[in-house]
């Protein structure tokens, strides 16, 4: 007869609690996580500028997502909802701790593929550096729009903005990024 340890009891209890309160099964979660974890982590890392904070916020985002009672109409709705949680967490954290964004070490995070030219790599490095000079909300907008390819409606829903004001904010963010790109060290070095 198998012996029950406290750890076994705890695990069973946690499993029961998960079954009772989580909105999806472990199997469904695994597939959803495989599809979303990487983009969500990168989104958090880019808007907070802190990869370690992104690790913590990622876990918290999935916990809140699993506990939500929202009924999802589609996979896109589910994914957008997760991004909304991630956005709110990052912004709440900024308000609470007033963290100063630590720029991501671009040299570490930029992975070079054989097919990429030096110019393409330098361009990506420029954009990453320039992004770190923008306000967090601008980073969110640009990342959702041009890395995730989200529509204006999706971005507005994710960030809790009106669609009309979102267009103006996106325009300004784009202009700021283009202006910041003109002043990045790598760009200056090349020109």
């Amino acid at each position: 007869m198998a012996e029950w340890t406290l750890s076994d009891v705890e695990r069973l209890s946690a499993l029961n609690e998960a079954d009772r309160t989580f909105q999806m099964s472990e199997e469904a979660f695994r597939s959803f996580y495989e599809l979303t974890s990487r983009p969500v982590w990168l989104y958090l890392a880019r808007i907070t500028g802190d990869p370690r904070l992104a690790d913590d916020l990622l876990q918290e985002a999935y916990y809140r997502f699993l506990r939500t009672t929202t009924r999802f109409e589609s996979d896109d709705h589910r994914r957008n909802y997760l991004f909304r949680i991630a956005t709110n967490l990052a912004h709440d954290n900024r308000r609470r701790s007033r963290f100063t964004a630590v720029p991501v070490d671009e040299a570490e995070s930029v992975v070079v593929a054989e097919s990429e030219s030096a110019d393409q790599v330098a361009r990506r490095l420029d954009v990453t550096r320039a992004m770190s000079q923008l306000k967090p909300r601008e980073r969110s907008l640009l990342w959702l729009a041009y890395a995730q390819g989200a529509s204006h409606e999706e971005i507005a829903a994710t960030m809790g903005l009106k669609r009309s004001s979102m267009k103006t904010l996106l325009f300004r963010a784009r202009r700021h990024l283009v202006a910041a790109l003109g002043s990045t060290p790598a760009k200056a070095g090349r020109s």
Binding site: E17, R30, E108, V127, A145, K167
Partner: protein, 154 residues
């Protein structure tokens, strides 16, 4: 006047997202992007952001690990939620007991004062020490309650 949006922006973004920009896309769209201020900005930044997403070295925890951490936290949260009414009840009981003790002391105080006048060791010494005696008494009663409320229980 600066336009803040372009009707073809979605088209340009879609081409970038699909990896067809710039070589494999419609030359007419390329021409448009070079002439349109909005789309020019988009193609200046979108391909780099897209590549950053595609190629960045991201190490996320395993799905099972995230699931289990969430499940264990859900259990802890449920236990805390279940204990909350009991903690409120304990706090109310403690406050009630303290109130009763104070009421009792105030009711008995005149009698205690009367007895002190006839005390063999002299009323003034005992009256001077009374606040300390009361503080110690309250501490003896309150300390276990405070400890019980403060220390987390599984």
């Amino acid at each position: 006047m600066n336009a803040i949006e372009c009707a073809r922006e979605h088209e340009v973004v879609a081409v970038v997202m699909s990896g067809r920009w710039p070589e494999a896309c419609d030359p007419e769209l390329r021409e448009h992007a070079s002439a349109c201020a909005v789309c020019r900005d988009v193609v200046a930044i979108a391909p780099a952001l897209r590549e950053d997403l595609r190629r960045a070295d991201v190490q996320v925890p395993a799905a099972g690990q995230v699931w289990w951490r969430a499940a264990i936290r859900a259990r802890a949260d449920a236990a805390r939620d279940a204990a909350r009414p009991m903690i409120w009840l304990q706090a109310l009981t403690g406050a009630g007991a303290a109130g009763l003790a104070l009421a009792g002391v105030s009711m008995l105080w005149p009698r205690v004062q009367g007895m002190l006048q006839f005390a063999p060791f002299g009323g003034s010494t005992f009256q001077e020490a009374l606040p300390l005696v009361l503080a110690v008494g309250i501490g003896v009663v309150a300390a276990p309650i405070a400890y019980f409320l403060a220390v987390p229980r599984d």
